[in-house]
Amino acid sequence: MTIPVSAADWIVINTELILVGTAMIVLLLDAFNRRISDRISPWITLVGVVGGLVSLGFLWGQEYTGFAGMLVIDSFSVLVKMAILFGTGLAVLLSVDYLRREELAQGEYYGLLLLSTVGMLLLTSSANLIMIFLSLEMLSIALYVLTGYARMRPRSQEAGMKYFLLGSFSAAILVYGVALIYGALGTVDLAGVAEALTAPGILSNPVLLAGAGLVLVGLGFKVAAVPFQMWTPDVYEGAPSPVTAFMSVSTKAAAFAALTRVLVFAFSDLSGVWMAVIWAIAALTMIFGNLVAIAQNNIKRMLAYSSIAHAGYILVAVASANQLGIQSIPFYLIAYTFMNIGAWAVVTVITRKGEEGVGLSDYTGLFWRNPLLAVSMGLFMFSLAGIPPTAGFTAKIYLFMAAVNANLIGLLIVAVVTTIISAYFYLRVTVIMFMHRPSEVSAVHVPIAAYVAIIIAVVATLWLFLFPNSTQAFTEAVWRMGL
């Protein structure tokens, strides 16, 4: 008997191993000395995340398949993993002072954050439907707990419960879809699926179509695409702000990686069917997210709807399913990570204990209270709206170009029109911050760690606009990868 574990397997999961190890250290430290753990566990976590990023640097440009084709490392997964780890790192910086302010325990929080990140990293590498389900569960279960982490606050509890119930349903739907696909094709391996689909007559198999549809529903829930977006505003609003920042970018990145891998690589022969579905979902998501965001007076809910809308934009790239589209997905995810975490960082800083102060009116005249914060928030809003000179602009250009190349003119028109609509509610925040004077000028206290996070996000948002070429080499490598 041969043991199907080789050196390549360890290379494939080395980033995950680093983070799992860090999580174990954080948990044990918390179990043995709460006082020390409260002080140093965020920094241990950061070291682990940076270690993960370094290990990704070593993996760059290489291709590995591990664990009998369960996991793959290619340029696409490395780039998305970078986006996820950037998101985790920035979320850690936000959490340090947030947890102190809300008087929440530190150790467990970082353990859960790291384990959820590990799930996301595995999801990005998954090349097998079972692995996709497993890693999706791994990231979700930790996130359910994190969502309800402020357990003395009813809104947080409610959010955690809602997310848990709906998330479990969607996971069940996903795994049912996997079962049907296995029933139709006799394989759960993505490469095997792609191969099985070349058999004549298989494409009209109703069991296969039902299975693919259910998998789409399960993943659509995680990326918060219409009509599976119902949970998003409540969960994003109720969860602790740094957790929302983390899950709005990193979960989305991981789930989009899986969605792209399943649809574009495994089910590419079925694209005649899912293309129309993704087209409709993308259009609906963009329209719904942007229109409902206009009506929000609560900044957390507004950003929640904005994150739904951005899922719609990325779906345009998925629907394009061409070279540029696949390349633009990691770029968009990285750009979105920085601009969205940046916006959530400002929200985290502005809110007071017990998540008070999340109305748009709390941002009135922010410029006079803290100019740097207001300018950063303005930049993030510009970026989310896709206005230069920001990463959001460049990312959207790539996306729209992909749609043009794929001849998706109708979808492109929807995307452009909804982008213009979105400018209204993003710029409204800017107007409130800069053009209204506050009734009383009280300085905003910004913890140093949060400042660092905001400055990193600002620099990255500008950098990705000014030097998109620096990432071009990265994104161009993406298309080369096979599955």
Binding site: I3, M24, L27, L28, A31
Partner: protein
């Protein structure tokens, strides 16, 4: 293609018909002489006290959860042991793998222990 699943359908119908038929027949044909003792719910011979639908202390759930967790993990030892017997070449590797697995479990165990999840009081 669906024809190959016909035995399952037949099994399903027979199972439902048999169990449903047994309940129905005993209801129709059986003699009915009820008295209060017969109608009382059976609680291992004890006289029933109060309803069963009352809240349990949350500790029960915690212990039950932890039990199931470790119970399921232990199940993994069985297939491992079977493979360990047949795989002579890679025994050291298999042993190390299982030590790593149990080590991670152990960390979880230490964690819940230190956190006081196992203290009843």
């Amino acid at each position: 293609m669906l024809v190959q699943y016909l035995p399952f359908l037949i099994l399903f119908i027979v199972a439902v018909a048999f169990s449903g038929g047994a309940i129905l027949l005993s209801r129709l044909l059986g003699p009915k002489r009820p008295n209060p003792v017969k109608l009382a719910p059976y609680e291992s011979g004890m006289v029933p006290i109060g309803g069963t639908r009352r809240p349990f202390h949350i500790r029960y759930y915690l212990v039950a959860m932890l039990f199931i967790l470790f119970d399921i993990e232990i199940i993994f030892l069985y297939p491992w042991a079977v493979i360990y017997l047949t795989a002579r070449a890679a025994r050291l590797f298999l042993l190390l793998e299982m030590i790593v697995f149990l080590g991670v479990l152990m960390i979880g165990y230490i964690y819940i222990w230190r956190k006081g999840a196992l203290d009843w009081e």
